[in-house]
């Protein structure tokens, strides 16, 4: 019992697409659609590359990374802290392609900037995933309960959601971020992102509730209810799988927004605190270096943009994959017979 028959009817209406979907589960169908989205796939590859690079370079779970310096280690300044990264090959008159000792240079006190940037990327990713997962779980549960049970439960939960929504995200984030660093400093990045995640689920809860309100009226839900299924079973086995698209899509977009939120908060001084680093924090610390040593300012920015951009494109791709109506691939297929 899933949306499968519906998709089949919808797509086969266009004539020649039906064979494509034959014998595929919904999940595979979506996956296949996603795979054919070049932009989203490219973004996914780049994103994974950034994840692997940052995790392996600075190490994770207490493991040592392959990069020789640590983000809080003072190293004697080499050549005034200038970056040693070279991308121009020797046969073009450059220095040849090599990383050197400090590819992104060093800060004035001698910390390797590549190590800092990688640690910042890692922290941004942690923030992103924790906020994403936490918001997805809380938002889905609250939205599902409100949408399924309706009545006073819905009113209570939704009014609570409205309560949090009244405060703009960045304002809430700033206040909550300051509290996190004041009272949960031992937890560091994780504490910050957990506390932020506890407040960012509201948009998702509204969407899920909307979805549940529609789905619970469907015939197959009635059928399940008549056949004596318990509420939990109906919610988790019958309705949720059909609402999962909404959850995944808005979670990806939320994750992209979460990265920017964290960088903004760190810039304002309410996010991650030194000696730990985040991309926003090191940009903010090095904004004065813009005219003298632009690499300190540009590199973390490039990584923020790269992460946010790829995650946005992945989210867009996921949306297209879940929503065949807007999908480019289906649209083209549907257009062809119409044009001819």
């Amino acid at each position: 019992m899933s949306l499968e028959p519906e998709i089949n009817t919808k797509v086969s209406a266009s004539g020649d697409v039906a064979p494509l979907t034959e014998g595929m589960s919904q999940g595979r169908l979506i996956w296949k659609r996603f795979l054919r989205n070049k932009v989203a796939m490219g973004s996914l590859v780049i994103f994974l590359a950034i994840v692997v690079l940052s995790l392996s370079a600075s190490g994770v779970f207490g493991m040592q990374g392959w990069w020789k310096w640590k983000y809080n280690e003072l190293v004697p300044l080499e050549n005034g802290g200038a970056p040693t990264l070279s991308l121009i090959p020797e046969w073009l008159g450059g220095d040849g392609i090599h990383l050197g000792n400090h590819p992104f240079g060093q800060t004035l006190i001698g910390i390797d900037y590549f190590a800092m940037t990688m640690r910042g990327v890692q922290n941004s990713l942690i923030v992103m995933f924790i906020i994403g997962i936490l918001s997805a779980v809380i938002g889905t549960v609250i939205g599902a309960i409100a949408g399924y049970y309706r009545g006073w439960v819905e009113s209570a939960l939704m009014r609570f959601t409205d309560l949090v929504i009244v405060i703009p995200v960045i304002v809430l984030g700033a206040v909550v971020g300051k509290i996190a660093s004041e009272h949960f400093k031992g937890l560091g990045v994780i504490g910050l992102s957990i506390v932020l995640g506890l407040f960012l689920w509201t948009g998702l809860a509204r969407l899920v509730r909307g979805e549940f309100l529609t789905l619970r009226e469907r015939e197959y839900v009635d059928a399940a209810r008549v056949s004596g299924a318990r509420d939990a079973r109906i919610i988790f086995r019958h309705i949720l799988p059909n609402a999962v698209g909404v959850v995944i899509v808005s979670t990806t977009l939320l994750m992209a927004a979460a990265i920017l939120l964290e960088t903004g908060l760190s810039f304002l001084g309410f996010g991650i605190r030194p000696p730990d680093v985040s991309l926003g924090l090191i940009i903010s610390q090095n904004q004065n270096a813009f005219s003298t040593r632009p690499y300190l300012f540009i590199w973390p920015g490039v990584f923020i943009v790269a992460i946010a951009l790829t995650v946005n494109f992945i989210g867009d791709g996921v949306r297209d994959a879940f929503d065949p109506r807007q999908s480019r691939f289906v649209a083209r297929k549907m257009k062809e017979p119409a044009d001819s």
Binding site: L108, Q287, F290
Partner: protein, 584 residues
Amino acid sequence: MKFQRIVAPVSVAAVAAMLITGCTTTGDQPAAQTGGTVTVAEVNELTAFTSSTSASNLDMNGKFMGYTRSSFFYLDNKLNLIPDKSFGTVEKTSDDPLTVKYTLAKTATWSDGTPITADDMLLAWAAFSGFFNDASYDDDGNVTGGTAYFDYAGDTSGLALADRPVVGDDNMSITLTYSEPYADWSLINPIDAPIHVVADHAGVSQADLVNAIMTMPRGDAAAPAPVNDVLKKAADFWNTGFDATSLPTDKSLYLSSAAFVLDAWVPKESITLVRNKEYKGSLVPKIDKIVVRFIGDAQAQVTALKNGEVDIINPQASADTIKSLEAIKGVTTLTGDQFSYDHLDLTFNTGVFQNAPDLREAFLKTIPRQQILDAIVTPMNPNAEIYDSQLFFPGTDGYAETIKSNGASAFDKVDIDGAMAILNGRTPEVRILYNTKNPNRVAAFQAIQASAEQAGFKIIDAGAENWGSLLGSGTYDATIFGWISSGVGVGGVPQIFGSTGGGNYNGYSNAEVDSLANKLQTTLDKKAQDDIQVQIDKLLWSDFYGVPLFVAPGVMAHSNSVTGVVYYPGQAGVGWNFWEWAKK
């Protein structure tokens, strides 16, 4: 026909509109003429036309007072008291009892033309001395009886030693006689708000107010007197009447007695100061106008200077700020020390260092002071040196003398072997409290931890965000934090190092230091004061009180189109010598 019916009203309306249009025109504006304007960037906005009340005791208000109020003296960049004889003279007429006479110059005038007289000084004395207050307080600071008149932000204890002033010289001088010697007497500047403005706004006559000040008995919290209405009204106005968030229509609220007077205030953005036509003193500026723009962000200040929007900036110092300022063409960067320093203190009344001078010595031997200096200060100030005194700032007279004898140089270099020899196999645990929000403190902690553990100490990270409220709680054995000081006067010494001082967080108690600190408070001669401080400094080092780490660096920068800007380490900020500024 139909056409005309429509056209007639429309054309009437159009003509009427044209007429109104004519009436709303403004005529040619005079061409803008601004010659000799200097624009200064400041971090905070003005909040009051006074800095004496507890609410208004903020840096920008103080700087504003510097531009618009004359004093008997000002502090130069070497912390010397420079008298301003064109405003008035200060004369110590007797040492025992300490008697000081303040005489105003005949030319001293408020910017509304009213001459400045002893009445104005009496008001300042009434406020600064707390003479009339007879309020008593409960533990929460609520008034339980009596009356608190003036809500003065400063320390009243010094002036409270003096009796009511004697007015003389045709109401142009006051004389203060102290019941016991007061070391910081030379820092008393008995001039504040204009008394005629306070009296006017309080709805009392100036004569009545002066009469109240001259006749009311000294307040006694044990036996509170009935409220004096005249004084109470005046004090109430003095306490809040000069607070402002925009330019008031009442010009008397921001009278000037110095070379500049406030002319315009765009809330949140800027204030404009123009020449005070009534000023007849000798600190005459070369420029016509000073604009102060409020720019909170250091980077925004630097860009604004680079873009020519401001001429002088005074941002928070950081290595990159200084580097980027140095890279801007046509800009001069001035760096120097500030009156604040980071230091490591050991706890004397609890924990591992209590009654254990050997452990204290061993621990101090492991502090990598040069390494900390190199990591934090050297990038900003390549000539920075280890700071070796608990009492004197580098560059002052006493500093050179004290470091000869105080024994601080024994701790300039890390001596792990020496520390191990003292520890002799022991591995004491040391909890170090510091501010985890401040990257400099974190760096210092990390360096100390690494070094001390080599000698066998077990360092426990007791750093906290709310470090401030933990001070003095006995939950740590050592602490790293900063002291911010005014750089002048000796009133702060017993506060920090006296057994019962309010800033003595580490339970330090040494009877000899206590008696020296008390003696210091009653010593009038600067040289003698320095001698006593040298002795205290030596005792502190031999008790292994702790070590100062470094003096915080500061930075100012100005466009080369302005000359005469000189670095200043104190709170008066870059405007301390505004009369020497000139625009090319």
